[in-house]
């Protein structure tokens, strides 16, 4: 085994699962502008260089540190070395674990697989990993990139694997437009999955029929607000009754005297019919606001609000 540094600019993004490359062709695989995920482990083979796994965000200061294994070294031993190398810095990403499973499945007996898996990943092997691995490695590259960059847990990966490849394309487009955080992406994903089930439709139809894609992609909102806006739109589709009621309440609430001294809230679980009016009074002049709030038309609005609740 030898470790050597490769010029950072020459390290390239490789789509999973890692294929065999000529070292000289690494240049053509670059996606450095996307803060690239870089395979850092190579094995010499008669056909070329096998890039095993190890997608990590390399900072420029780290440079491309490449470990090259000789042909005689056995795969599990290589993987253990790699995993220790990575785990020294951070826990393994689900993507990396998926790749470990794929590689071990090709090269180990089923009896040895759990043992090697535990040694490499530090986790107990579960039979479900076979299925997870296949699905994760087939995820859209842009989504994989998103997941790794956001250090997503396994459940987020699995949530995304529920979409077909065409739907994953759409989803990655949506993510590009609204740049969600990890938790926002999980909410969006869950809302979309559930809403598609409710409307018994696919993602493409759902987004187009309800104008969601157009609304988001043509939005002039600042990037930072787009994900919240999308969630709001999707919630209205996913929870139609609750959303309609919330809208009605908001509409009535806006007709009440709005002042910084008065706050109106209600039981957001809708289980109890509780309205909470919170008055902040600092001097006697504030009593006038209180008095104003007690006008008949305001009380009538409050009564309507109670009826809605």
């Amino acid at each position: 085994m030898q470790i050597r540094n490769i010029e950072f600019q020459k390290l390239k993004f490789i789509k999973p699962p890692a294929p065999i490359f000529e070292e000289d062709t690494l240049d053509s695989l670059s996606e450095l502008n996307l803060e690239s995920l870089i395979p850092i482990f190579l094995q010499n083979s008669p056909k070329g260089t096998i890039i095993w796994f190890g997608e990590t965000l390399l900072k420029k200061s780290q440079h491309g540190r490449v470990i090259i294994f000789s042909q005689s070294e056995k795969l599990p031993a290589i993987l253990v070395t790699i995993a220790v190398f990575i785990r020294y810095r951070r826990p393994l990403y689900p993507l990396e674990i998926a790749r470990v499973v794929a590689l071990l499945t090709q090269s180990c007996s089923t009896t040895n697989l759990p043992r090697y898996f535990s040694k490499i990943t530090g986790q107990k092997y579960r039979a479900e990993w076979q299925q997870y691995s296949r699905k994760i490695l087939a995820l859209h590259p842009a989504l994989l990139s998103f997941l790794v960059q956001h250090k997503a847990p396994l459940k987020t990966y699995l949530l995304l694997t529920e979409w077909s490849s065409i739907e994953q394309d759409l989803l990655s487009e949506l993510f590009r437009y609204c740049a969600p955080t990890l938790s926002q992406s999980e909410i969006i994903n869950r809302l979309l999955l559930d809403t598609c089930k409710i409307y018994q439709t696919n993602l493409s139809e759902l987004l187009d029929q309800h104008g969601i894609r157009a609304t988001i992609t043509q939005s002039t909102l600042p990037l930072i607000e787009r994900a919240s806006f999308l969630i709001q739109q999707l919630r209205q589709l996913r929870f139609p009754t609750i959303s309609a009621l919330e809208k009605d309440i908001e509409r009535l609430k806006q007709r009440l005297p709005g002042t910084a001294k008065v706050q109106l809230s209600w039981d957001t679980t809708f289980e109890t019919r509780e309205l909470h009016l919170h008055f902040t009074m600092r001097d006697k002049r504030d009593l006038a606001i209180l008095k104003d709030y007690g006008r008949d038309e305001n009380l009538a609005l409050l009564a309507k609000l109670l009826d809605l609740l």
Binding site: L193, R238, P240, T241, I242, T269, F270, E271, T272
Partner: protein, 375 residues
């Protein structure tokens, strides 16, 4: 029917000499029990807990108030006997998935201690009429061990003047009970649901028609009956689907033999949602328009469940006006919107049960209940 086969039995030293233990072991002549002192498997053990039995003695109190008592909801003050901990059936919505983490189905075999605990409860308030049930942490009749326990409880309850036993099931395993002397102090109860929900969500349970046929046989044996429309699920055209169930029910069952009917809508702790998705990817329960209540349980949005309750309640009352119908784990407001009235509190609801039994089943409740005795 599911594979009820038990593959392994652990027998705790403490339970070795029990009469119930011997009876249970006779059911599994091919399995040599492993004698242990304390349960040897960890909760993370990979064997299926439904295929492993652990016979032991109860450690703490296993006769308890129903855990449904929370301030926001009306509770009927049911008493639970947790003798069997786990269930061989596989209902996708089952709370036990979240609640139990033992690596085996635990069976308590110290029947005398359990009976003493029941006796103690009922003698402390002799004027209150108590309802006990074994179906809280498992089906009351699905496992032979539960049925054998029920066979010992039925004659015991027959002799208690102020208590009744409810055996709740989704199976048709009633043959062993038919000849027992019950003195109308045992209610055999079935959970009922729309045929589509049974097929899709209640894996390994008996079909709707089989359940009702079994109920008819139990009715012929003189037992009191109860039915639980729980969980009501918002399937497409749910109101019609549940009306069809009620039609099927009253075709075969005499309303005058029904001690009570409950209505409860689908509900589960938030933490269970992900588990349901993982274990039952084909479930139709999710997604739904649900909201977390103050007890942190997910329920259908209030107007939706009021609509479902109201339709089901009114149809039952149309076909059987005198049957006692109650809502399980619901707020006073929902009670009012569905039934037009609400019990003042949990004690009044408990009292209403006793009063109804006294009026409809005078052999069961022989003395007129006093409101003051329910506190």
């Amino acid at each position: 029917m599911p594979d009820y086969r038990i593959k392994k039995i652990f027998l705790d030293e403490s339970a070795r000499g029990d009469e119930l233990t011997s009876a249970i072991l006779q059911h599994y002549p091919d399995i040599e029990p492993t004698i242990v002192q304390g349960f040897p498997l960890k909760s993370t053990h990979h064997s299926n807990p439904k295929t492993v039995l652990y016979l032991t003695h109860s450690k703490g109190s296993i006769v308890k108030d129903c855990p449904g008592i929370v301030p926001e909801h009306l509770c009927c003050r049911y008493q639970v006997i947790n003798q069997t901990l786990n269930c061989p059936l596989n209902c996708s919505y089952c709370i036990l998935q979240d609640y139990l983490n033992q690596a085996a189905t635990v069976i308590y075999t110290d029947v005398d201690i359990i009976q003493r605990a029941v006796q103690q409860r009922v003698t402390t308030q002799p004027q209150r009429f108590f309802r006990f049930g074994t179906g809280e942490l498992g089906d009351s009749l699905a496992l032979p061990a539960s049925r054998l326990f029920a066979q010992r409880l039925i004659p015991f309850f027959a002799s208690l003047p102020n208590a009744i036993l409810e055996l709740k099931t989704k199976t048709v395993a009633i043959d062993d009970l038919l000849g027992l002397s019950h003195n109308e102090h045992t209610v055999i109860a079935w959970s009922l649901n729309a045929a589509a929900v049974i097929k899709q969500e209640e894996h390994g349970t008996a079909s709707l028609t089989d359940r009702i046929s079994a109920a008819q046989r139990v009715q012929d044996a003189g037992y009191l009956l109860a039915f639980h429309f729980d969980p009501l699920v918002l399937i497409p055209d749910a109101n019609t689907a549940y009306r069809q169930v009620i039609d099927v029910l009253f075709e075969k069952i005499e309303p005058a033999r029904i001690a009570w009917i409950s209505l409860g809508s689908l509900r589960f702790p938030q933490s269970l949602e992900e588990r349901i998705r993982q274990r039952y990817p084909n479930t139709k329960l999710l997604p739904a328009e649900m909201i977390a209540g103050r007890d942190r349980k997910m329920r259908y949005f209030r107007p939706l469940r009021v609509n479902l309750y109201r339709s089901t309640y009114q149809y039952i009352k149309t076909l059987a006006p005198d049957v006692f119908v109650y809502l399980c784990m619901e707020t006073p407001r929902i009670w009012e919107e569905v039934t037009g009235s609400r019990p003042q509190d949990n004690t009044e609801l408990d009292y209403r049960f006793a009063l109804n039994l006294y009026q409809c089943f005078p052999r069961t409740v022989t003395l007129a209940p006093l409101r003051a005795a329910y506190y």
